[in-house]
Amino acid sequence: MKALWKPLFGSPLNVVLTASMLALFYLTLPPFLHWALANATWDGLSRKACAPDGACWAFVKARFPLFIYGRYPQAERWRVDLAFVLLVSISAGTLFAPRRRGWWLLALLVFMPVAGTILLVGGVFGLAPVATGDWGGLMLNVVLTFVGVAGSLPLGIMLAFGRQSTLPVVRWGSIGFIELWRGSPLLAVLFTGLIMLPMFLPNGVTVDNMIRAGVVLTLFVSAYMAETVRGALQGVPRGQTEAALALGMHRSVAEVLVVLPQAMRLAIPGIINIVVDLFKDTTLVSIVGLFDLMGVINQSLKDPNWLGLAMEGYTFAMALFFVACLVISLIGQTLERQYGSAAHAPRR
């Protein structure tokens, strides 16, 4: 009690701060809890079933499958669940496996895309085909995030090496590519990609909207990935390269087998930040006509049975994103503590 007295009421400024914080809580928390819990309606078939001054969670409940899976056929949703479980387990393996990290990474970057495509698209092994136009909801955000990260990782590593290259053409090409993408707003880039891509392809070739968005996101993220990897590459002590060269390794072999693995460990916190940012930014595809969680909610708000429930819809979606992003960030912080200390330990 004594320990709390001083920081809370020790000086005039602290008294003012404490009082204003308590006033803020008093003004915001009771009305919010009253709206969100005490007066909320949890079941119902339309807006009319809901109390006028409480949250209408019945809306979220009724639309929950749509928010998660979009229009993915009900009978096939187990495939989405299975792909998600696979993704989470392989990611966890990659991040936390004490050894054989390379194999886990290979599974994440090669096996997972193949297995995910087979599961989600179908058409082989007796799985019914599902058009990408039916994908939607949070599932689409997760898929696009995975595509963006998995695609930009190799591309970003190549760009990072390219930016450090001694060949002027390669170096300036990489710098130009990176700065072009980093200088443009994602939404403008998505617009360009979705509207103009058909323009630059041979006549008659059409590319699925989902794939277009995936390609644009991959290219966009690879510029940021390149900068993260470059920072990590610079964080590996020069002695490592020199030792590898002294052992008779070719320069490129030394970079790939000695420097890169150590750099990737340093890059993990940065990559996790990229994952969180990309996950949040995938909501932008709703503006260019894809029905991700944001798009599905905006669409549901126009349903005549559930008019005027924006507060509920957005609150629910933000809560989903908040929990997901917080968990990913916390994992990142744990890993940063683990590797951060190891990275800064003096090497002899």
Binding site: N14, L167, L187, K280, M294, Y314, M318
Partner: protein, 374 residues
């Protein structure tokens, strides 16, 4: 494995070969894309060129700082909507910095209640999508406000309703405006030319500006918004789209700015504070003269990238139909004129230019700070 006898090339020759291959590959790709575009455009009867900028636009821009008529050209539309982008970006940079500083100070205050609240707000804000926050503010909050007749009255001529925020607009005398320009010029010149370490040099400029602002506010005739019939007349109306975009961008970015400020202040070693206190400086002066100038140096590079993020984020206005550059130029003009390649090239060029200019300016300032005593 190093030497391959028979066809080994010297190192520089190999380097050249690689670069020629890279350039040739890139050129082939560009030519192929260009060829496809030409074929496609020929088929759809689209010509290439920027002459369309001189054609009349014929659509309305609901919110504009410069005058706008239906008969104005696409080129002027680009100017008008770019100004809307600049307006929102500058408003957001100011508010985001202020909010970021507030959150950072709350977290550093040592008061657990304030620090905890600030931390919670920051975590919620930065772990939810920016677009969702903008939609939340726009759809769930601003669009559910009462109609003009039941406006929320704040007093002093401020009203909030579903059509936006109404504020009093000052009608400033031309002479006062000219005086303001002179004062601003003096303040900037004084700030640049101030002797190093002089507190007076730092304070005089802002004080002059403040004095001018007070004088201008009292000499101006204020046009207050007032209810007439079903709507308001007079004053300035900030449309809900601009409000939502401004608040959405500012709140989101402030969470990141607060972390940057906090890290910069905490990054100054505590020995500096101890040394300053032991020399007899007060806590406030220690902060102002010792900690902040040093923190500012580490602050600038990450702050620059946040400001650039703000500028890029203004394109999210296209989601709620705020007439900024992507909405008006990238959407309306593109759809009307069909000049997709030209429009998108111009759009990206505008953003790249602004980005390069801002980062160049910040780099200059950064170099200046680094050059000052170390």
């Amino acid at each position: 494995m190093t030497a391959r006898p028979g066809w080994s090339l010297s190192r520089p020759a190999r380097a050249w070969l690689w670069q020629i291959v890279a350039v040739a590959g890139l050129a082939a790709l560009v030519l192929w894309l260009g060829h496809n575009a030409r074929v496609n455009m020929a088929q759809r009867n689209i010509t290439f060129g920027f002459d369309f900028l001189l054609h009349p636009a014929g659509f309305d821009i609901p919110f504009h700082l410069l005058s706008w008529q239906l008969t104005d050209t696409y080129g002027r539309a680009l100017l008008v909507c770019s100004l809307n982008t600049v307006l929102c970006a500058s408003m957001s940079i100011v508010l985001a910095s202020a909010l970021g500083l507030l959150i950072a100070l709350m977290r550093l205050s040592g008061n657990p209640l304030a620090a905890g609240t600030a931390r919670a707000v920051m975590e919620v804000v930065r772990n939810t999508p920016q677009l969702m926050q903008i939609f939340f503010i726009y759809v769930a909050v601003l669009q559910s406000l009462p109609p003009p007749r039941q406006s929320i009255v704040f007093g002093w001529g401020f009203f909030l309703n579903v059509r936006g925020l109404l504020i009093p607009s000052p009608d400033i005398d031309l002479r006062m405006l000219l005086l303001g320009c002179v004062v601003l010029g003096l303040a900037i010149a004084g700030w640049i030319a101030r002797p190093p370490g002089s507190i007076v040099g730092v304070i005089v400029g802002p004080l002059l500006l403040l004095a001018w602002a007070v004088a201008a506010a009292f000499s101006a005739t204020w046009d207050l918004p007032a209810m007439h019939g079903f709507n308001f007349t007079g004053g300035l109306r900030i449309p809900p789209e601009l409000l939502a975009l401004w608040l959405g961008i500012s709140i989101y970015t402030s969470a990141f700015i607060s972390e940057i400020i906090r890290a910069a202040i905490l990054g100054i070693s505590y020995g500096q504070t101890e040394a300053s206190l032991s020399l007899g400086l007060s806590r406030g002066l220690t902060m102002y003269l010792v900690i902040l100038p040093q923190a500012l140096r580490t602050l600038i590079p990450p702050l620059t990238s946040q400001y650039l993020n703000i500028i890029k984020s203004t394109t999210l206005g296209a989601a709620i139909a705020y007439p900024e550059i992507l909405q008006i130029f990238g959407r309306t003009v593109l759809n009307q004129s069909g000049r997709a390649v030209e429009v998108m090239t111009l759009l990206i060029a505008v953003f790249l230019t602004v980005n390069l200019l801002v980062s160049a300016a910040m780099n200059r300032w950064n170099r200046r700070l680094m050059a000052q005593g170390r």
